[in-house]
C-alpha cells in the first residue's frame, strides 16, 4: 500500500516539472513561428 503523502509529493514534483517543460516548449514554438513570419515579411520587396 503506497502512502498517500508519498504519492502526493512525488505526483506533485513530476507533475510540476512536466508542466514547466511543456510550457517552455509551447513558448518556444510560438516564438519560432513569429520569427519565421517576421523573416518572411522582411524578405518581401
Amino acid at each position: 500500500m503506497v502512502n498517500g503523502y508519498l504519492a502526493v509529493a512525488y505526483g506533485f514534483v513530476w507533475g510540476i516539472f512536466m508542466l514547466y517543460a511543456w510550457m517552455i516548449h509551447r513558448r518556444q514554438q510560438r516564438l519560432e513561428k513569429e520569427v519565421a513570419e517576421l523573416k518572411r515579411t522582411l524578405a518581401q520587396p
Binding site: V2, N3, Y5, L6, V8, A9, Y10, F12, V13, I16, F17, Y20, A21, I24, H25, R27, Q28, L31, E32, E34, V35, L38, K39, T41, L42
Partner: protein, 231 residues
Amino acid sequence: MNKVFPPTLHLIVTLVWLIAASYLIFLYAPQEATMGEVQRIFYIHVPSAWTAMIAYFLIFLGSVGYLWKRRDAADDFAHGAAEVGFIFCTCVIVTGPLWAKPAWGIWWTWDARLTLTFVLWLLFVAYLMLRSYVINPGRSAVLAAVVGIFGFVDVPIDYMAIRWWRTQHPQPVIAGGEGSGLDPRMWVALLVTWGAFLCLFAYLMRQYLRLAALEREVTRLRRLRSSSQEA
C-alpha cells in the same frame, strides 16, 4: 555545446537518470525504521533544496556579471536560473509539509530553517515579479540583479540554520556531527537523485536560454520591420 551534447540527447540522459533514481528510491534504499514509507519523500525534498540553493547562487553570479559587464547573456542566465530555481524551490515548499505532517504531526512551524526556506521562495517570486511588471527591459534587468545579489545573503544562512540553531527541522546529513548520517544505500539513492535533478536543471536552463535567444531575435526583427516600414 549543441553539437557535442544535443538537447535531445540531454533529455534522454535526464529521463534515464530519473528512472534509475526512482528505482533506487523505491526498490534499493531500505525503509526507514521509525517513519516508514513516507521517509522516501526525503529523496526528492533534499535534492530539490540543494538544487534551489545552487540556482540562487547562479542568479547571484549572473546578476554580478550583468551589473559589471552589462551583457544580455549574463542577464538571461540569471533570469533562467530564477525561473527554473523557482520550480525546484516550490517542490521543497510543497514536499516539506507533506513529510512534516505524518512525521511531526503538523504541516508547518516557523522555525529558522523553514522560515528561511520560505524567504528564499519569496525571493524567487520577487525576482520573477520584477521581471514581469517592470516594462523597461534595461531597468527590469538592473532591479532584478539587485534582488539577485542582496537576496543571496539568505542562502548561506538557510544552509547553516540547522547547524547554528536547534530547530524542529532534522539535523544535517552532511557534516552534521556525531549521530548524523545515513545508511550507505540511502546515500546512493540520495546522490543519484541529486545528480538526476542537476541534469534536469541543466536541461531546463538550456531550454530557457534558447527561449531567451528567440525573444531577442523577435525583438530585433520587429525593430527591423518598423525601420523598413518608416523608410
